[in-house]
């Protein structure tokens, strides 16, 4: 029963140690204590008397755990009403994590709260001597997340995109990614949109080939990244979300068609060669009853 020793399947409540208001709809909670989560893994967050849902680990340094969430509905709005000292339960960590090799050149694509786990990935990968092209996108300036944190990391070139152009590139971050992949293929130059912090020697010059692409964000963004990286034959790892209850592979609520794999166990981080076989990917997902909803 190895799996048990690796994860807690019984929630334990922790007191909120700090709350950071990231944007008017987004908050980050800090908890004392670690579940030993790896970047890309999630925990089941329990608000006693309210509900329990999956949330990506935004940071876990072995002592503290951070969660960043959008207030979009019943549970997350209740979460947003919590104050420092309130009790929140956690169990986990669950699921797969992003995998890389030391020294790789990796493109991170983050949309919405995806910026949080992506910061966690970035912090760990630069430890391993990786260099990063980070593409952060949002509707507009005020919805951009984790820019400061990402900028504070070494070996990170930040590429910002907003739909309304209120900051950085006007459009989608995936378009920026495509530009870079083209450039890399052509071996040519690209003009850098967004502020590229402490440009690496090669900046503005030839871009080193991208070893792989990690993405976390809205499913349509993920779908675009999937097609793009398939087209350019670059390995990618995408964080897919489906409705989750147990978090460890028995309730079956997070299973995807037609593979039958459970995204709480064989995911949430799925390699693109598997993603392309998930026919419902980008098309539909199921609710708590197993009913299909198209995106």
């Amino acid at each position: 029963m190895s799996s048990i020793s690796l994860q807690s399947r019984l929630p334990r409540t922790y007191r909120i140690k700090a709350i950071k208001q990231e944007t008017d709809m987004v908050r980050t909670f800090t908890f004392d204590g670690s579940l030993g989560a790896r970047p890309g893994q999630f925990v089941m967050l329990w608000l006693p008397g309210v509900d329990e849902k999956p949330f990506s680990v935004a940071f876990d340094n072995g002592a503290e755990t951070k969660i960043t969430f959008f207030a979009v509905g019943p549970m997350s709005e209740e979460l947003a009403r919590c104050s420092v000292g309130d009790l929140v339960g956690m169990r986990g960590p669950f699921g797969t994590c992003y995998e890389w090799k030391p020294g790789q050149h990796i493109a991170l694509v983050a949309g919405g709260y995806g910026a949080a786990p992506m910061y966690f990935v970035a912090a760990e990968t630069v430890h391993h001597g990786c260099t990063l092209e980070v593409f952060v996108g949002a509707r507009s300036k005020e919805h951009l997340l984790y820019l400061k944190e990402l900028e504070s990391l070494p070996h990170v070139s930040l590429h910002v995109a907003t739909n309304d152009g209120s900051e950085g590139f006007k459009g989608f971050n995936v378009q920026q990614l495509e530009k870079m992949l083209e450039a890399v293929q052509k071996g040519g130059k690209i003009g850098r949109a967004g502020k590229a912090k402490q440009p690496r020697p090669s900046a503005g010059a030839d871009i080193d080939p991208i070893d792989q692409v990690f993405a976390c964000g809205p499913e349509m963004m993920l779908k675009a990244v999937s097609e793009l990286t398939a087209k350019y034959k670059i390995p990618s790892q995408l964080s897919l979300e489906r409705y989750m209850k147990c978090g460890y592979g028995i309730c079956g609520n997070c299973v995807v068609d037609p593979l039958g794999i459970r995204l709480c166990t064989e995911g949430p981080v799925v390699k693109n060669d598997v993603c392309v076989k998930i026919e419902e990917f980008g098309k539909y997902h199921r609710d708590a009853l197993g009913k299909k909803h198209t995106f």
């Binding site: 209850k245 460890y248 028995i250 079956g252 299973v255 197993g290």
Partner: protein
């Protein structure tokens, strides 16, 4: 690994029960990875001899809020509340599974009344499930519907009759609860009402877990049914009771805390023909079915058992052989 075993031990695990052939005795228990055809296929590819659907309702039914499933190394508590999208989805998923059916399918149905059990059966039967499994023992909807039918012999018999009236020649398995004075008495009542077999057992208790700091029950439903290794002795006892109460004439899907091949053999010796596996999917992985089969083959080969069916009810035969006959089904038919 699987393959290696499969080649080393060619012992045949297949049985034919009520006209249905099972490549091996393992059956995915209801409610585990049981929502979609894709899920059932993966479980079949992972070695299950048959799959059981999550309980199906006549209409869409909401489950409980989370937390619905929690566990420790000793127990799992669940109160999912039997959510279901209703018959349209059931038709779509079961239909797609039956088109290219890898293993037999057991359709598990649930309802709040005898008539609706019958109506639900009628809505599912056209999809030609191999068995119907009637869940009269869910402890997690007492709130809505009161004590499970499985806790009263007349109520259990009434549901059985209602379903049998419409089931034609599809075998009907009644899923029993361990949380009763005498499971044997319930089984006898259902058998007299025409049950073709039994699934023994549903979850135990219910039980409760409390978070010390918040002082709140952890499950949103406050209480939930117990499953996993801790309940195996209760499942084995209940299977033995039902087997002797029905003189071993009706097949039993022995379910409860089965994680290994030796567990499977133990519950077969108590009287099970097939072996349900649920919680262990979370503990040993979805390939727990292949693992259990490999372990059964290894054990049977070492012990010179060449007919898997020869294990069924073996304990009862051994007890009579030693002419310490198990009590003839007294009112309770319980072992003493």
């Amino acid at each position: 690994m699987r393959l290696v075993f499969a080649m080393l031990f060619s012992m045949n695990l297949s049985q034919t029960i009520l006209g249905v052939t099972f490549e091996n005795p393992t059956v995915l228990a209801s409610g585990i990875m049981g929502i979609t055809a894709s899920s059932w296929r993966l479980v079949a590819e992972s070695g299950a001899g048959a799959i059981t659907t999550k309980s199906l309702w006549l209409k869409e039914h909401k489950g409980h809020r989370n937390p619905t499933i929690i566990s420790t190394e000793h127990w799992t508590l669940n109160a999912v509340g039997v959510p279901d999208a209703g018959p349209e989805k059931a038709r779509e998923e079961i239909g797609s599974f039956m088109k290219k059916k890898p293993v037999p399918l057991v359709a598990n149905i649930i309802a709040e009344s005898g008539e609706n059990f019958a109506a639900t059966a009628e809505s599912i039967l056209p999809l030609k499930p191999d068995f119907l499994e009637v869940n009269i023992s869910c402890p997690n909807v007492e709130d809505e519907f009161g004590k499970p039918f499985a806790c009263s012999a007349p109520a259990a018999a009434a549901v059985t009759k209602a379903v049998k009236n419409v089931s034609g020649n599809t075998p009907v398995f009644i899923k029993l609860s361990p949380n009763v004075d005498s499971i044997a008495a319930i089984a006898i009542a259902c058998a007299e009402a025409g049950a073709d077999g039994f699934t023994v057992i549903n979850t135990v208790g219910p039980g409760m877990a409390i978070d010390l700091r918040s002082r709140m029950p952890i499950l949103a439903n406050k209480v939930g049914g117990l499953s996993g290794p801790g309940i195996k002795p209760i499942a084995v006892k209940c299977v033995a009771d039902v087997y002797s109460a029905t003189q071993g004439k009706l097949p039993i899907i022995g379910t409860g805390g089965i994680s290994t091949g030796e567990d499977a053999i133990e519950i077969m010796l108590a009287g099970a023909s097939l072996v349900g596996v649920g919680t262990a999917v979370g503990d040993r992985g979805v390939d727990v079915f292949a693992k259990i089969c490999d372990e059964m083959q290894l054990w049977c080969t070492n012990e010179g058992v060449d007919e898997i069916s020869s294990l069924v009810g073996g304990m009862h035969q051994e007890l009579s052989r030693r002419n310490a006959p198990t009590r003839k089904p007294s009112h309770s038919g319980t072992f003493r």
